[in-house]
Symmetry: D2
Subunit: 147 residues, 4 copies
Amino acid sequence: MYVSVIGGEHCSKEIYEMAREVGRKIAEMGAVLITGGRGGVMEAASRGAKEKGGTTIGILPSDSRQEGNKYLDYAIVTGIGYARNVLVVLNGDIIIAIDGHYGTLSEIAFALEFGKPVYGLMSWEVGIKNFNNVDELFEEIKRDLAE
Amino acid sequence: MYVSVIGGEHCSKEIYEMAREVGRKIAEMGAVLITGGRGGVMEAASRGAKEKGGTTIGILPSDSRQEGNKYLDYAIVTGIGYARNVLVVLNGDIIIAIDGHYGTLSEIAFALEFGKPVYGLMSWEVGIKNFNNVDELFEEIKRDLAE
Amino acid sequence: MYVSVIGGEHCSKEIYEMAREVGRKIAEMGAVLITGGRGGVMEAASRGAKEKGGTTIGILPSDSRQEGNKYLDYAIVTGIGYARNVLVVLNGDIIIAIDGHYGTLSEIAFALEFGKPVYGLMSWEVGIKNFNNVDELFEEIKRDLAE
Amino acid sequence: MYVSVIGGEHCSKEIYEMAREVGRKIAEMGAVLITGGRGGVMEAASRGAKEKGGTTIGILPSDSRQEGNKYLDYAIVTGIGYARNVLVVLNGDIIIAIDGHYGTLSEIAFALEFGKPVYGLMSWEVGIKNFNNVDELFEEIKRDLAE
């Protein structure tokens, strides 16, 4: 199973720690973590996943692997700019949106368009289930997966 | 000047007529109309623009020009699927979102990300100015352009 | 009918004049000219087409219309970098390759992959019909279209 | 280090076995194998790499992981069709072209355009070094890497 974590390149320390905890939990589920490969929420989730021995893949907008954060096992370059947002979403079986700005909103929109399950953590209110803490979020995910 | 009209492939008759009126007004401004080239709001805006002698370009997701509606002067095929949403937005100097579902939301998000002026007509409430009728929308656009 | 002219951004004066003549002939056929929108062969063909009142569309790699040459009626930006080469080819019913380097070779390859008719003018020898002058090239194109 | 192996989805049994041997050698070098993720040469190289405990990543044209062959550790979907050829090349530090048809030619062209080292195995004669057997190919690669 692949889980995509989407969120901004810039975030508060509080959001960073939440994203890191999300990364840990994804690794504990045995899922591969997909992100946009850059800083902020993407870095935090990847860092958390590596702390628990998970696998992390970053899908980058540019054609340079150097753009990736240091917690990626595999950095996939695309060279297609913002159109790479579509790939970040397409590669997840589940999408977790954490906080985030307009780029994140575009990814939530694509996830909904593709009919993928989307879970928010203090993210955009556009008809997705939003949670305020990581434990409640994963309880819901596990409940949905068990169905 | 290029104006992108974004909106769903399926829409009510009321929305269709609004989009058509938007197309007419874009043509009257002397601007080129950009859309995603398909049915619904995209067709209606292109139809309106042609009624007033405007120029219409559709940027299609597939690799087949047949996918385009019959009111397009130029159908540009892309073969990149949903990633073409980015192109529809990038090609507009101004973006008008009419009604719309998740695909439209992704395009509004990209427009905001790119710092482009976005005007809504009964569309998503995600921090853009939304109007209920076409005249008020164009009064605002003309006011903004005059500044 | 849309005709794509592919070729390098840098070319000799001789090739530039050939490409310009190709542009003129495409306009005289009543076809829309598609190019990658930049300098060299792309500019020359667009310039020739405009001299004969044709219509020119450039499909640009970047997200800036400023990248286009001054002989384009419509500059379509993509922001997807080299992946835009695919679009230049997909939009032509006929492909004419003039001289050119590796970028042009990638476009010839895609044209062959898509089963599109490709004509070369002093271009890559990879199984396409290559001509040394513009008149012979268009005699062949007209013969093929008549069939 | 990432090595991209490019080649056709359909190939002879002889080419298949060569590609499989190439995959084994890439794994033995400790490099990650990148392919287009489908059948033929792509499958053979991935199969060989897995036989030697290597890591295999496939970058697919469609949006469905099911399109990937069964020797992929990670299947990255793109949904951008032929434009994904650019990504297969961009992700390799070294490119090995085996046999192949027009799709492979487009990838060789991109590799040359990007200035990446390209090695051919019974592949297109477009200015790349072509070899007739796998051992000679890898001797050359190791010589180049040692420089």
